[in-house]
């Protein structure tokens, strides 16, 4: 018989499933579907890209495919992609975090569920439909543009355009802010109510609790969510393709163009080297993410 207080964390003393070996077998069995699936459809393709990127047309090992990666125009595209990812991540993370905080701390269960589902849909909008939505609202003929004109704000004569770096950042916020809500909400949810109550009992005001306990605890999670947004913006393809039409050079678009064109072996090899360069950038962003998560897990249940 277990006592009602027993939780997952208190289980160490009472293993229900016998020996260590038995537990390992159970673990393998339960994890097998996910691991096998990810190996075939995710890890194998990525390994193939990495290996192929070091192969010449004759099948021998070569560094040659990487020769062009550090030359123009790729180096400029890489810089633009990095800047776009960084700016759009920061611009989206702040309102997303505030919204997640308001909903988690003051919203009902029902509201949280609805917001989670809607965010899931919005985080996955992109491509031509998203481009159309912004052209229809903030394009030269758009509804919001004419509305702003009617109140005396002519954004186009002020130099605004959707088809610039700034415009692309704006469009990215449409799926980045909902993504921030999705990835940041669990951290706020994990802030234990007891800590707020303890701080209150000790005489702290709500403001004092947030400034000396809540925000310092949430900051690492905020940073790691920011890194996720960075990686996802860096990789975005469909929206960038629909919005820029080649006016802004970005690495994912370059890869897409190399693959879409008439297949020349050298170009496919260059595309693979570029893809590996992108993987390296996103993995580098994941290193601080993992370190931060490990620290955050100390207090998150």
């Amino acid at each position: 018989m277990t006592t009602p207080e027993v939780t997952n964390l208190d289980r160490k003393g009472a293993p229900i499933w016998g020996t260590l070996i038995g537990q390992l077998l159970k673990a393998l069995l339960a994890l097998a579907p996910l691991l096998v699936f990810m190996s075939i459809f995710f890890f194998a393709p990525l390994t193939a890209v990495v290996l192929d990127s070091f192969q010449g047309n004759d099948g021998n090992f070569t560094w040659a495919n990487y020769a062009d990666v550090f030359k123009e125009p790729i180096i400029t595209a890489m810089r633009t992609s990095l800047a776009l990812a960084l700016v759009s991540a920061i611009v989206s993370a702040i309102p997303g975090a505030v919204l997640a905080f308001l909903i988690e701390s003051r919203g009902s269960d029902r509201l949280r569920q609805v917001v989670a589902s809607i965010s899931g849909v919005l985080a996955n909008t992109g491509g031509v439909p998203l481009a159309f939505m912004f052209i229809a609202s903030l394009g030269a003929e758009g509804a919001a543009t004419s509305l702003l004109k009617a109140i005396g704000l002519d954004i186009y004569s002020a130099g605004f355009s959707l088809f610039t770096f700034g415009g692309l950042v704006l469009v990215y916020t449409y799926f980045q802010i909902p993504m921030m809500v999705i990835v940041f909400s669990p951290a706020i949810h994990g802030l234990r109510k007891e800590w707020n109550e303890a701080a209150r009992t000790l005489g702290a005001s709500g403001r004092q609790f947030w400034f000396s306990v809540g925000i310092p605890l949430l900051f690492p999670s905020f940073l790691s969510a920011l890194l996720l947004l960075f990686a996802s913006a860096f990789s975005a393809y469909a929206t960038a393709r629909a919005m820029t039409n080649g006016t802004i050079a970005l690495v994912p678009l370059m890869i897409g163009n190399l693959l879409d064109g008439n297949v020349i072996f050298d170009e496919v090899n260059l595309a693979k080297a570029l893809a590996v360069a992108m993987i390296v950038v996103t993995l580098l962003a994941m290193v601080p993410y993992l370190i931060i998560q490990r620290r955050a897990q100390r207090w998150q249940g």
Partner: protein
């Protein structure tokens, strides 16, 4: 009463701003899609146009089929893992969390190139492969949704209670675990559907045609029609969401909230 109101004010303002942010582009696109420039009026011509387009039903069917297939694939892969993680396998949570996050950060373009070379032959020549690739891309969202949902349920306690009362494992699975996690699993499946229906990158780089790529192709010949299509697809996802959320009742009675 006054205290309650001032507490809710920031939330209300936040929700209003968020609604404007979401609805303004969508509403503008809807207005655009109703324009009939030749008659200088508004009407449903652009909607009639795509409904009557010969390939509309075909590609909508393909996309829905693939979306359902990817949702099923994820169900089979994720439910055992997540249930087990919440039944005492929490040691492995870090590993599973990391693996399930990767498809969100690794560039889809890179995955697409690799899929061209590394996938088995049967997969290269059959569009069902897209269902598997969509499932990979949906893992981060689906895993997160399921794990967050299941963590709020004292699954272990419920299962032990059922075992203690003499239920065998099959009965526990079908009469206890599945009913308890149903709403959580449904919202994860919904997220997978939404992602699959809109996926463009892998689809176009692997040279398959679905509803999304068809919309992109159509936009080159009839912009207003394509805008109408885009609005139609987004709005129908939201309608689907509403319908499903009617069926998802929070399993309130089973959640032992921390406040108690």
């Amino acid at each position: 009463m006054k205290g309650l109101k001032s507490r809710q004010l920031p939330l209300t303002i936040g929700l209003i701003l968020a609604t404007i942010f979401v609805v303004l582009p969508l509403g503008s696109a809807a207005e655009f899609s109703l324009r009939e420039p030749l008659k200088n009026t508004h009407g449903f011509d652009n909607y009639v146009w795509f409904f009557e387009a010969p390939d509309f039903a075909k590609y909508l069917g393909i996309s829905f089929g693939l979306a359902l297939a990817s949702a099923l694939i994820l169900l089979v892969i994720l439910v055992p893992t997540v249930v087990w993680l919440n039944l005492g396998g929490s040691k492995f949570r870090g590993l599973v969390e990391f693996i399930s996050l990767l498809p969100l950060v690794i560039p889809v373009v890179a995955l697409a190139i690799g899929a061209q070379t590394a996938l088995p032959d049967f997969a290269q020549t059959n569009e069902v492969i897209l269902a598997f690739m969509y499932a990979v891309l949906a893992v981060p969202y689906a895993y997160r949704t399921m794990d967050t949902g299941l963590r709020s349920i004292p699954l272990q306690t419920i299962v032990e209670a059922a075992r203690g009362l003499g239920a065998d494992w099959l009965a526990v699975l079908f009469k206890v675990i599945i009913p308890v996690i149903r709403s959580t699993v449904l919202s994860a499946l919904f997220m997978t559907l939404a992602l699959s229906l809109g996926e463009f990158t892998i689809t176009s780089l692997l040279h398959w045609d679905t509803f999304t790529t068809w919309v992109t192709t159509m936009s080159q010949s009839n912009i207003l029609g394509a805008i109408a299509l885009s609005v139609f697809s987004l709005v129908s996802v939201f309608v689907l969401l509403l319908v499903i959320s009617v069926f998802i009742k929070p399993t309130k009675s089973l959640i032992i909230s921390e406040e108690n």
